[in-house]
């Protein structure tokens, strides 16, 4: 800036006197306005209230009814626990899940379960979740023995990104479900029928046995009453099939091509991890844009040994985790083949967690020293977190002794 020029500038807004007077009055005027203001405290914040209704930090629920869907599947109807602060359930987008917190014999763990009921039923005061008993399932064994009508359950708010987004998705939805992966599609189908989602659903549903098909009658009924909106094709992998009109084997590209307008559809996939690996290859044949294939987070990787990059020689190895959580420091054992989160839960030191798939970032923790293996398919960390050694324990496996700082549950 030219010094000479600057000196020449001499601004007058109203008049020299008025301008200077206005300046001298600034602070006194402000003080006057403050002195004259109300001294009433502010007690309301409707925007934070809305945020908490949409995203409650926790919901306290109680089992109101249990329905046996198949020999290994039950639907739990959950309502607000009348003795708790949860008066109303949080509204959700069909396809979202609840992360349940369960004390299993003194070990507190979380599990994500898709909401199977319609969002309209929130107004009727309930959610439904449908759970399939897993062989040797740590949690489901416990649930089958202990969950009954009246059992209290703590849950997260509705979570996850597996929902129809009309600004992005095509109105032809093709659902590909395996096993209990059908649960979010029940919610989506109901919302379509109720006019909450303007789309059509073609559901390719893979089951291993006829007896394992969940919601068979319900979907049949929905299809019958809404033939232009809902279509379901059962795909059975067992040898003997008595069901009419179903496909045998797995959900292959051929089957997908037979029932769907592949290039005019958005695919939603939900099922066990093995199904993803299979479907991925089948869908690749169509060379679809990334945006046309939505995947639900598949939960914890159970067989990390199978994945390339994992140091297989560590399969039987155990390591020590030195954990700082709030004011507590503790050393705990961990296995290389189990996620850091599982080791933490076993020691009752778990940080908050929801998706257990590396996606939501809720368990984000600081790796102070040591090394973890993170499978690239479940590495959803922010770039700076990678740089500064923050990691998601639910999707990380210890491959040395490690020292970490984890957040407490709020």
């Amino acid at each position: 800036m030219n010094e000479g020029n600057k000196k020449k500038l001499n601004i007058t807004v109203k008049s020299n006197t008025k301008d200077l007077f206005a300046f001298t009055k600034l602070v006194p005027n402000r003080m006057k306005r403050i002195e004259r203001a109300s001294s009433e405290p502010i007690t309301k914040d409707p925007i934070n209230d809305l945020a908490r209704k949409l995203h409650p930090e926790r919901q306290f629920l109680i089992i109101d009814a249990i329905k046996e869907e198949t020999r290994s599947t039950k639907t739990y109807k959950l309502i607000p626990d009348p003795e708790s602060e949860t008066k109303k359930l949080s509204y959700f987008r069909p396809g979202q899940y609840l992360s349940l917190k369960v004390d299993v014999n003194g070990v507190r763990i979380t599990r994500p379960y898709s909401i199977a009921s319609s969002p309209t039923d929130v107004a009727n005061g309930f959610y439904e979740i449908t759970i399939k008993k897993e062989e040797n399932g740590f949690l489901t064994n416990y649930l089958w023995k202990n969950w009954d009508i009246g059992t209290k359950i703590e849950s997260s708010g509705p979570e996850g990104f597996f929902f129809f987004e009309r600004l992005r998705d095509l109105k032809n939805i093709v659902g590909i479900a395996g096993g209990s992966g059908i649960t979010p599609f029940r919610s989506i189908a109901k919302a379509i029928i109720e006019g909450k989602i303007d789309a059509r659903l073609t559901l390719l549903y893979g089951s291993s046995e006829e007896d394992d098909i969940i919601f068979y009658d319900e979907f049949k009924e929905m299809e019958k009453n809404n033939p232009t909106k809902i279509k379901i094709i059962h795909v059975l992998s067992c040898e003997e099939v008595s069901l009419e009109g179903c496909e045998k084997g797995f959900i292959t590209g051929e089957i997908i091509g037979k029932y769907c307008d592949v290039h005019a559809s958005t695919f939603f996939i939900c099922g066990p991890q093995v199904m993803y690996d299979f479907i991925e290859k089948e869908l690749n044949k169509f060379n679809l844009p990334v945006k046309r294939v939505r995947r639900e987070a598949f939960g914890e990787i159970k067989d990390i040994l199978k994945y390339p990059g994992f140091p297989k020689e560590l399969a039987d190895k155990g390591f020590k985790l030195k954990v700082q959580i709030g004011g507590l420091s503790k050393e705990i054992p961990a296995l290389a083949t189990e996620s850091v989160l599982v080791a933490l839960e076993r020691a009752n030191l778990a940080p908050p967690s929801k998706c257990r798939s590396g996606e939501c970032g809720f368990c984000r923790s600081l790796l102070v020293s040591g090394e973890v293996f993170i499978n690239p398919i479940s590495d959803w960390r922010r770039s700076a977190d990678k740089k500064f050694n923050y990691f998601h324990p639910c999707a990380s496996y210890p491959i040395s002794n490690i020292e970490m700082k984890i957040p407490r549950d709020l």
């Binding site: 800036m1 600057k6 500038l9 001499n10 601004i11 807004v13 301008d19 206005a22 300046f23 009055k25 600034l26 005027n29 402000r30 003080m31 306005r33 403050i34 004259r36 203001a37 109300s38 001294s39 009433e40 405290p41 502010i42 409707p46 925007i47 934070n48 809305l50 945020a51 908490r52 209704k53 949409l54 995203h55 949080s90 509204y91 987008r93 507190r108 969002p119 990104f161 987004e165 009309r166 600004l167 844009p289 990334v290 945006k291 959580i325 709030g326 004011g327 507590l328 009752n348 970032g361 984000r364 922010r382 770039s383 700076a384 977190d385 740089k387 500064f388 407490r408 549950d409 709020l410």
Partner: protein, 522 residues
């Protein structure tokens, strides 16, 4: 849980900083660097407040930053760059955005489409080209802005108690404009209407109509951008906030995330401690609060009888500012393929900023947008053949207050859709067919993550009576509880990244000085 109590913290600290937003981070880093025993508590599980990022699919979105003013090139460092590089040696990297802004005005009667370069002289030239004969008056705008910037530095250096004689002698133009709106001074300078409209492009970053926004703060912001350029971090805002996190720990400071303060304990007008929802109890005589005075006085101070009447009056006298609405879109075509040539677009129905502001007070698609195509500054911020587009607009919180949870998604989706259409029309591009990931943030989203009162992120409105000048000159007089300082966008430097970061430094310096004085006396 049986062992949750074992996790509780009980300790004493020289200073407890509440909130890890920009103001909290710089304050904590300063105090930790000075060797004080300092603890920063943050209710979210990340640092930054709105200065963060999030991942969806193949994209990592920048949450709120469009560009940092006050960063500047190596050869002309701004305050923020001096803080990051020279003072704290943060492990960060920034790049300059290519142009100041492209301003598109869509009203047929005012139609305009101009792209402004960085550099004061370049900007003056560009405006002269659009509005022949504007050069002299526009140049005065920037000259004035420079003098006013120097006056701010002077006032800051006196701790808010400037010598009136010095002000009269050295900064008379500052004195004479300090009480006026941008409109009043631009008119007084004789800037032609169309040149005003171009100069007013950045108005939405302060969020008040030109007729109400105080001139001194507006012109210094424009001058800062023009002179230093706009800069962004290569790893999104989460890059520098996490670098702060690391540095604070290196300095020996302690950070606890997922830890929400429930009570700031006060006895006989003095801070004595802090308690958290988690069950922690901390002794301290000094708190730097990155939460707003509104939230602090109405919710955090304990017992309530310790909140002086004047504190409530102070909060109630101020005008609570804006919150926002952002569409984050990951697109499956490159910016080039889509014809998105600029980094920053301001798309305004007209340059009647009062009408635009009014459009933020009703639950309809607002008439002013600020859009960023991140790849045009950071080509590798998303995979090849994709790009990231953020469309931001503002809202008063009121129109969102009566939205029912069951209508919330439809409401925001409809507004987002219209804004996307408006963006396409204004830029002549087609983007809706390319959406691979999309998130829509509303005032409720900002409330969810920051817990700010009503989700507000623009602090108190900086009309002349409550703009930076009277705020700076009231420094010290507005401390109603001994040991309590505020830091961040609601405080004396107003909102915005650079302001909040700078404000944290001032609050930390004031607190540090008090502690040192106490130690000297002891």
């Amino acid at each position: 849980m049986s062992n949750k109590k074992e996790q509780n913290l009980e300790d004493s600290y020289d200073v407890v900083v509440i909130g890890a937003g920009n103001g909290g981070l710089s304050a904590t880093a300063f105090l930790a660097q000075k060797g004080l025993k300092v603890l920063m508590l943050e209710q979210h599980n990340l640092p930054g407040g709105v200065a963060t990022s999030f991942v969806r699919g193949r994209f990592e979105f920048e949450t709120s930053l469009h560009e940092l003013a006050s960063y500047g090139p190596e050869t002309n460092k701004g305050n923020v760059r001096r803080m990051f590089e020279d003072r704290f040696k943060l492990d960060t990297e920034f790049v300059q955005v290519p142009e100041a802004y492209r301003l598109i005005v869509t009203d047929p009667n005012e139609k305009m489409d101009v792209t402004m370069p960085f550099g004061v002289e370049n900007m003056i030239d560009a405006i002269e080209k659009e509005v022949p004969g504007s050069r002299e008056s526009v140049k005065k705008f920037f000259d004035l802005a420079e003098e006013i910037g120097e006056a701010f530095n002077y006032i800051g250096s006196t701790g808010g108690k400037p010598d009136q004689g010095v002000l009269m002698k050295e900064y008379s133009n500052f004195l004479k404009t300090a009480a006026y709106s941008t409109q009043e001074v631009e008119d007084a300078l004789g800037i032609p209407k169309k040149a005003q409209d171009i100069l007013n492009g950045y108005w939405a970053y302060l969020g008040l109509p030109i007729s109400r926004i105080n001139f001194t703060i507006y012109c210094t912001m424009v001058q800062n951008y023009a002179d230093l350029g706009g800069w962004i971090p290569t790893n999104r805002s989460h890059g520098f906030t996490t670098a702060f996190d690391k540095k604070i720990r290196e300095y020996g400071g302690r950070i606890e995330y997922n830890t929400r303060v429930e009570k700031i304990l006060v006895e006989n007008g003095k801070i004595t401690g802090v308690e958290t929802v988690n069950g922690d109890k901390f002794k301290t005589n000094y708190v730097i609060c990155n939460a707003s005075p509104t939230l602090t006085y109405n919710k955090l101070i304990y017992p309530k009888s310790e909140v002086p009447e004047i504190a409530y009056k102070d909060v109630n006298a101020r005008i609570h500012g804006l919150t926002g609405f952002v569409i984050y879109a990951g697109l499956d075509a490159s910016a080039e393929e889509l014809g998105l040539t600029e980094y920053g677009y301001f798309i305004m129905d007209s340059m009647n900023t009062e009408a635009l502001y009014d459009s933020w007070t009703v639950l309809k698609p607002p008439k002013g947008l600020a859009c960023v195509v991140l790849n045009n500054a950071l080509p590798d911020c998303s995979p090849p053949g994709t790009c990231i587009l953020d469309i931001t607009t503002l809202y008063k919180s009121e129109p969102w207050e009566n939205v029912k949870p069951e209508d919330y998604h439809d409401t925001k989706t409809k507004i987002a859709e219209e804004l996307l259409i408006n963006f396409e029309k204004a830029t002549g591009t087609s983007i809706r067919d390319h959406i691979e990931e999309i998130e829509i943030a509303t005032p409720a989203t900002f409330a969810r993550y920051t817990r700010h009162y009503k989700g507000i992120f623009y602090g108190y409105e900086p009309e002349s009576w409550d703009s930076i000048v009277p705020r700076l000159m009231s420094m010290g007089k507005d401390v109603y509880i001994e040991g309590l300082e505020f830091a961040g966008g609601f405080n004396r430097r107003l909102h915005g990244y650079s302001s909040a970061l700078g404000d944290g430094m001032i609050s930390a310096q004031l607190t540090y000085a008090k502690i040192m004085k106490e130690r000297d006396n002891a």
